[in-house]
Amino acid sequence: MERPPIEPLRTSRKLSFLDDQQLKDLQEATLQIMENTGVQFPSDKALDIFAEHGAIVDRVSQIVKIPRDLVIRAMGKVPRYFTLGARNPEFDLILQDGVSYFTNDGCGHNVVDFKTGEKRASTKKDVGMAARINDYLSSMAFSWTMVSAQDCGLTSPLHEIDVTWRNNTKHYQSVTMMGEKICRYGVEMATVLRGSEEELRSRPPLSLIVCTIAPLVQDKEAIEGALVLGEKGIPIVIMSMPTMGTTAPATYAGALAVGDAEVISATVLMQLANPGTPVFHSIFHAWADPRTAAYVGYPLDSRARYAPVEIAHHWGMPSLGGAFGTEASEPDSWRAAAEIATDPLMVALAGAEIVTGIGLRDTYTTLYPESFILDDDIYHSARFSLLDMDVNPETLAVDVIAAVKPGGHFLSQKHTRKNMRTSMVRGVSHQLDKMGKYRNPSEYARERIQWILDNHHPEPPPEDVQKEINTILKIADKELKS
């Protein structure tokens, strides 16, 4: 069946929140933190790489201090643009200025079951369902691990890859793969899918996001897994999530400096180990509620929300920006809509190359399948607002206006009949019931999900490829679960 093409947000216009001097000051802060305070790398492998390249390595505390010359030399190797390959070549994403590719949110652990309405832990089947919905929607340029396959134990990241590829033909970015062993299996699966190591390197169908631990610590499993992917030229996202007041200073600049130092120190490691490894920069800063210590993603004053995108570009790196997040726990409340709707326009204007966030609720933890459709609607609203205009005699319709004359109407004009139905792009909020009244958007969204699940069945990987992937999975289960 026909699948809509990917429709990324495109704009030649740019927003900036920081001036050149501020960007320099922040970069200087990052360099100073890396040089004087250092970052902890609890991995002998990482420490060895740093030591070999002249960084100051304290083996006892596992803290690495990186001289600025070494940082600058390593950062010179990071590619500014590259390609994220897809199973279907039509969906390969070529990173470029002025284009933002979006995907769903991740990685939640709760699902509100589409049939029973019961809230429960997410499973491999849910990952497949989310991947299938993602595959159909034009707002989704690639796929993220939306929820985790909690029924698959230690090898769940590999099962998430498997079920995603069986249900989705776009690029897949894993949010959960960690550790050298798991990542080697992941690379093996990607190599099988692509057919050769060379193809894997030129059009990687898989990438990985790894998170740091604020303040100034890398995770052993995350960093060693990323190094495995780096060997094969598979793209990595390094994401820092500093929370002001708990894991970061309670000032915005201080939090950005800590977050940036975490991202850049990991990026330097990737470049020292495998020069030219494609890396995305990402900082998702948040606030600690001073009264409850709760995680707050959207306070009243979240000024310069997308300054991290500029920081990434200042380092010459592509950026992953987060949008669409909401702390609302309901799928379709005013608050969910309002918080979600403020972001996509801003993140696109800020120029983030890839953007995540569609479809989860309750601070990235809960999946209501219908939220996909509700958020997709907001996405397209932002996309339309950035589209170029088409002005020509047909659209200007001066002759039609002359024929109608002052005080007339356009109901009987051929021009009206021709254009009337394309003038209005009917969103989820404009669906009519039998009485001509607007329907409940959520109810309509559920129908759309049901339709996609009933009708959209993306072509799975070729049988022989799937067979080989199944074998890898079996071996991995045996080795890692025993």
Binding site: L216, A307, S333, A341, A402, T416, S429
Partner: protein
């Protein structure tokens, strides 16, 4: 003791993002010239037709249609000021329409209200206008008070009572003028003069402005256009607003709707400049769509009309009422209204219109839920803050603190944290909404905020003698209206 009205907050337009190229704007302008020259616009007013005729426009007296040459249009509009002031009760509430700031307006003008006490829907009344003026007085982002609903308990003089309710309940600028019987327009001017204190002050810092709507396609209202001439003579600024509906009163293509609307607005601005050169006017277009299946009125169309209309108005070198807006067709507060408010608020900085926002209404600007203005304002405030420039210095980067905490620890016990953790305000509407462990709906919290402002915010009133004078003017206007109705 009177409440203090907070200082105004205005969006900067430095983040304005154009949608149209200059070439496209000129193409549209050429279309407007062509319509005005070849098709013409209907002015069902002898006063207006005489003015056009005196200035050599092509006047078809039988059909009341005026055709304007590009030369006459350009000559007339050359006297329209690019920048002027809309006055507040104090100078700190003045709005300088110069293209550098976007001031937020309320939406208007609806006919139905969810009563704040009974929560039942009913027709709007003057007391609703007065209440909303007080509420808006307390909201720092609202600089331009447009009566959100009409004073339907006052018959023909409803617009004068709306103006009165605005002027006596907020210290901000009031969109007090609209289409009325021309005989009543002078009373509005007198009310403005009383508030200003003199003719001179009224011209310099007019406390009210007017909005006059055209009748799409390409026609004006007799009373509207003659009221406008009264306002212009008194130096009261006015926006001409075209409201084309694609498919019924305008072509079914966005560009066709815009060019027809532009012709309507420009023809009225030309008339005003011919009659009163230099009179402050601003440009406004609100495009809607006829629902293809029901014929219903759809205002939330996925198209960047707001940003386009700002560019079109500015291309005529006049200020604009338009840009990003939070108003939706939703009949209740929920997903639909929230998504439109969020997207609308986010597009305000990119729009760059001098007056925009349209806060507070639902159901295609017809229905007022009290709490809606609080929700809209909250979202706009979040966007306002998100676009603020970050200022920081070396101490904000907290090197010493980071070094002392080091990798893997936490910042909870640091003095620096205690000093700064409250620097980031949390939204009383969307962040602090817990009751025990339960999240409270934003609208419930917003209604509480509304009620709190309603009970506690009472801005400093006008001096007693001015209030009495306004009452006398209203009584005279009511009498005149009675005469108009009885044909005396």
């Amino acid at each position: 003791m009177a409440s203090i009205t907070p200082d105004l907050l205005a969006f900067s337009t430095k983040n304005k993002r154009e949608v149209l190229s200059q070439e496209q704007l000129e193409l549209l302008k050429a279309g407007t010239y062509r319509i005005l020259q070849d098709v013409g616009v209907k002015f069902p007013s002898k006063i207006a037709l005489n003015i056009f005729s005196d200035h050599s426009a092509d006047v078809d007296w039988d059909n009341q249609i005026v055709r304007l040459s590009p030369d006459l249009i350009d000559k007339a509009l050359s006297t329209a000021p690019r920048s002027f002031v809309l006055g507040g009760r104090e100078e700190r509430f003045d709005l300088l329409l110069d293209g550098n700031h976007s001031y937020l307006s309320t939406d208007g003008c609806g006919t139905r209200v969810i009563d704040p006490e009974t929560r039942q829907e009913r027709s709007s009344r003057k007391e609703d206008v007065a209440r909303m003026a007080r509420i808006c007085d307390a909201l720092p982002l609202i600089g331009f008070f447009w009566p959100l609903v009409s004073a339907q308990d006052h018959g023909l003089t409803a617009p004068l009572h709306e103006c009165h309710a605005g002027l006596t309940n907020t210290r901000k600028h009031v969109r007090g003028g609209t289409t009325v019987f021309p005989e009543l327009a002078q009373f509005l001017v007198e009310m403005a003069t009383v508030v200003s204190g003199s003719d001179e002050e009224r011209r310099k810092r007019p406390p009210i402005c007017a909005n006059i709507c055209g009748i799409a396609p390409l026609a004006h209202d007799e009373h509207g256009i003659e009221s406008a001439l009264v306002y212009a003579e008194a130096g009261i600024p006015m926006s001409f607003m075209a409201m084309p509906t694609m498919g019924s009163t305008a072509p079914a293509t966005p560009w066709g709707a815009l060019v027809a609307a532009d012709a309507e607005v420009v023809s009225a601005m030309v008339l005003i400049q011919l009659a009163h050169p230099g009179a402050p006017v601003f440009h406004s277009i609100e495009v809607s769509l006829m629902h293809p299946r029901t014929g219903g009125y759809v205002t939330s169309v996925d198209y960047p009309f707001g940003r386009m209309t700002v560019q079109i108005g500015h291309n005529w070198n006049v200020p604009v009422l338009g840009g990003g807006g939070t108003s939706s067709d939703s009949k209740d507060i929920g997903w639909y209204s929230g998504s439109v408010t969020g997207m609308g608020a986010a597009s305000i900085p990119a729009g760059g219109g001098e007056i925009c926002g349209y806060l507070g209404m639902l159901d295609g600007s017809m229905l007022l839920y009290p709490e809606q203005i609080i929700l809209d304002h909250e979202l706009c405030y979040e966007i306002y803050k998100a676009y603020q420039k970050v200022e920081f210095n070396e101490s904000d980067m907290a090197f010493d603190v980071i070094q002392s905490v080091g990798p893997g620890s936490h910042f909870l016990r640091e003095k620096h944290t205690r000093k700064h953790i409250r620097d980031f305000p949390l939204s009383p509407i969307t962040n602090e909404i817990y009751l025990g462990d339960e999240r409270r709906p934003s609208r419930e919290v917003a209604l509480e905020e509304f009620n709190k402002i309603n009970e506690t915010h009472h801005p400093e009133p006008l001096p007693e003698e001015k209030l009495e004078e306004l009452d006398r003017i209203l009584a005279a206007a009511d009498k005149e209206a009675e005469n108009l109705q009885t044909g005396k």
